[in-house]
């Protein structure tokens, strides 16, 4: 149980790092993200070009592959939605 929990904490940390680096956000702002924090449509930094960089960087740093049909509005709606998706994807691989 602890191992699973640690895994999630690691994914959470990496994902926050990707958002900080790709969107050029301050660490304090990203650290304060909750599951409900809105992403696409809420963060002005996250335009459609940034979405591409974000997805590519998530793939590289978390060693997962995101398919075209997995990428839709819901995926980037909130931080919690993105985190849950990435955690599920990591446990698949």
């Amino acid at each position: 149980m602890t191992a699973i929990h640690n895994d999630h904490a690691e994914t959470d940390l990496i994902l926050r790092g990707v958002l900080r680096d790709v969107l050029g956000l301050r660490a304090e702002q990203v650290d304060a993200f909750s599951h409900e924090t809105g992403l696409f449509g809420h963060l002005p930094e996250l335009d459609s070009m940034a979405v591409v960089s974000l997805l590519t960087e998530i793939e590289d740093r978390l060693d997962i592959v995101l398919e075209d049909d997995e990428i839709d509005g819901d995926l980037l709606e909130t931080y919690g939605a993105l985190l849950s998706f990435v955690i599920a994807k990591r446990s698949d691989g």
Binding site: R20, D21, A50, V52, S53, E67
Partner: protein, 221 residues
């Protein structure tokens, strides 16, 4: 700084930016990042070379055939043609070491040196495909990465403004491993996020200094 020419094996005359002492016994061949990443890291790369020069290290940044100021057709390039070009640049310019930036790890000549934040051709291609798929989606055109890739492998593909030939598309798609004999310099060693992640071309003087210092340190006997 000096602007010079060298000849690529395909017969094209290519430009090279040369920095540092002209009589240096050590010359670092700097192979640039590719496509969109090349634009975003150009300023950083040049400033890093300036920093190297301040440390007494000479370096050369050639244009890859079909890129930047090159008059060669990008469509006709492949990893093999870029590899041959990099080897011939190293030879003509008297490079003793190489610094391969990002995807250039795939074409580095057999010279000692470093791979900075290496990335697989496959990731670069995926990113380019994604730009196209997302743009098509906004235009309510149904295109998938898979179909585009299949078409690109046989006929070539225009992605994010770059006209890639079928050979380069296939080479990129098949290049999944960034392992190389070069010493890897991870982005984390530069103390900030990679400049290719920025929305617009930008610069970070501290990172340029940090990379130059790591190279100069690695050159110490």
């Amino acid at each position: 700084m000096q602007l010079a020419c060298w000849s690529a094996p395909g017969g094209s005359e290519e430009l090279v930016v040369r920095m540092g002492p002209t009589d240096a016994s050590v010359r670092v061949l700097v192979l640039p990042a590719w496509f969109d990443e090349a634009n975003k890291t150009r300023h950083f790369t040049i400033e890093m070379m300036r920093e190297l020069a301040l440390l007494g290290v000479a370096s050369d940044l050639p244009d890859l055939p079909g890129c930047n100021e090159s008059l060669a057709r990008l469509e006709e390039q492949s990893l093999a043609s870029w590899r041959a070009a990099a080897a011939s640049a190293a030879d003509e310019l008297g490079s003793t070491h190489v610094l391969a930036i990002r995807a250039s790890v795939a074409i580095a000549p057999k010279t000692p040196g470093w791979a900075y934040a290496p990335v697989a051709g496959k990731s670069v291609l995926r990113s380019l495909l994604r730009v196209r798929v997302m743009a098509s989606r906004e235009a309510v055109r149904a295109e998938t990465s898979e179909d585009l890739l299949a078409a690109g492998r046989s006929e070539g593909l225009a992605l994010a403004g770059y006209r890639l030939g079928s050979a380069l598309v296939a080479d990129l798609a098949d290049h999944a491993d960034t392992a190389s004999p070069l010493g890897e310099i991870a982005q984390a060693a530069l103390g900030g996020p990679g400049l290719w992640l920025r929305a617009e071309p930008d610069h970070d003087a501290a990172q340029a200094k940090a990379l130059a210092a790591l190279i100069a340190q690695g050159l110490q006997p």
